[in-house]
Amino acid sequence: MAAEEPSSANEYILHHLTFLSNKEPKGIVDFSVIHLDTVFFSSVLALLFGGAFYFAARTANAGVPGKFQNFVELLVEFVDTQVKDSFHGTNKLLAPLALTIFCWVFLFNAMDILPVDLLPALAHGAGVEHLKVVPSTDLNTTFAMSLTVFVLIIYYSIKVKGLGGFLAELTMQPFTTKNPVVKILLIPVNLLLEIVPFLARPISLSLRLYGNLFAGEMIFLLLAALTLHGASQLSSAGGWALLVAQFALAFLWAVFHLLVITLQAFIFMVLTIVYLSMAQEHH
């Protein structure tokens, strides 16, 4: 990739969609490649979340809460209510998992509100060529989270219902019969009907978040691409019009996006809670 200023909108956007990685990937799946920017920003945000909440947890007391403790307790109570609404058993993991997902995903998404060129330009000044600052626009991140949730779904299904119960759930419904021969004949049909939604869960979970945030980032990039030519832009009335349009549209989109990033974090959390409570409840 060339280090000079991108000349066209196309190049500009492609430049912004390229990860900072150790090397060029070969093919769709290449486990020798790592996205350094995604790992860096998600780790920083993990530390931010973990540190802030650990600080709140360390200073938390049953007396009159301070402002920060209030804020943290608001989040905790919000998540706790969501979990209690859909899951009626006891599970030490589910609520902290939901809180982690909500806060972490929200922080990922909130990176999208930063001006699209701010951190990449700073990194460029420091000699880093590419930088993608929103970890949830990396399919690896969203898949990592949904696969972890998927593994937990399988783990709790087997733990609560036993391996037989779990397999029976996949093969003995929706079509049920008392006749043992028909039962065996129905296994492949049931398996096909059950396995598709089962496998669709982690995929839809990750693609929904990825798609929304990728699209959001793309809109920001397109708006940013309206004014690529620096000072020469200001020599014509059209250039000024584009500048004003960019400002107004980017502002509107950012306001709307505030809703989207919160909503997506919320959806990821709620679906995780629902999936995991379904895994632990007998039908």
């Binding site: 905790v76 109570e77 399919l139």
Partner: protein
């Protein structure tokens, strides 16, 4: 866009973060929250109890106050009676004293009058004696004598 090692690393970060939240964050925040709600519940209960106790205390105070008022009224009543009695007594004593003084004054007056009468009688006697001596000094002159007697009689 491709799937790569980032996936594994992100899974590890995610798992560590979940573990951290579960171990060090969630219980430490929820615990105090639950304790606080317990404390608030206890506080509300105590406030309710305090209110009831206050109402009871007010009732008791009301009773005590009423009793005190009654007793005060009684005492005032008694005091008034006592004062009336005392006034009556004083009046009686004063009347008696007045009567006594009057009596003694009367007695004194009587005495004085008797005294005056006595001295008058003495004077009359003296006058009589002096008149007699005067008469005796002169020669008996019936006319003069009768004049003198008339004089005497007028003098008495």
């Amino acid at each position: 866009m491709n799937i790569n090692l980032t996936l594994i690393v992100q899974m590890l970060v995610f798992i560590v973060l979940i573990w951290f939240t579960m171990k060090f964050v969630w219980p430490m925040i929820l615990g105090p929250m639950e304790e606080r709600s317990r404390k608030i519940a206890a506080g509300l209960e105590a406030a309710e109890k305090g209110k009831q106790e206050l109402a009871q205390a007010n009732e008791r105070a009301e009773v005590v106050l009423r009793e005190a008022r009654e007793r005060a009224a009684h005492i005032i009543d008694q005091a008034q009676h006592r004062a009336n009695d005392m006034v009556e007594e004083a009046k009686g004593a004063a009347t008696a004293e007045g009567a006594r003084l009057l009596a003694s004054a009367k007695e004194q007056i009587g005495l004085e009058a008797a005294h005056a009468r006595d001295s008058l009688r003495r004077d009359v006697a003296q006058i009589a004696v002096s008149a007699a001596s005067k008469i005796l000094q002169r020669e008996i002159d019936p006319r003069t004598h009768s004049d003198l007697i008339d004089q005497l009689a007028a003098q008495i």
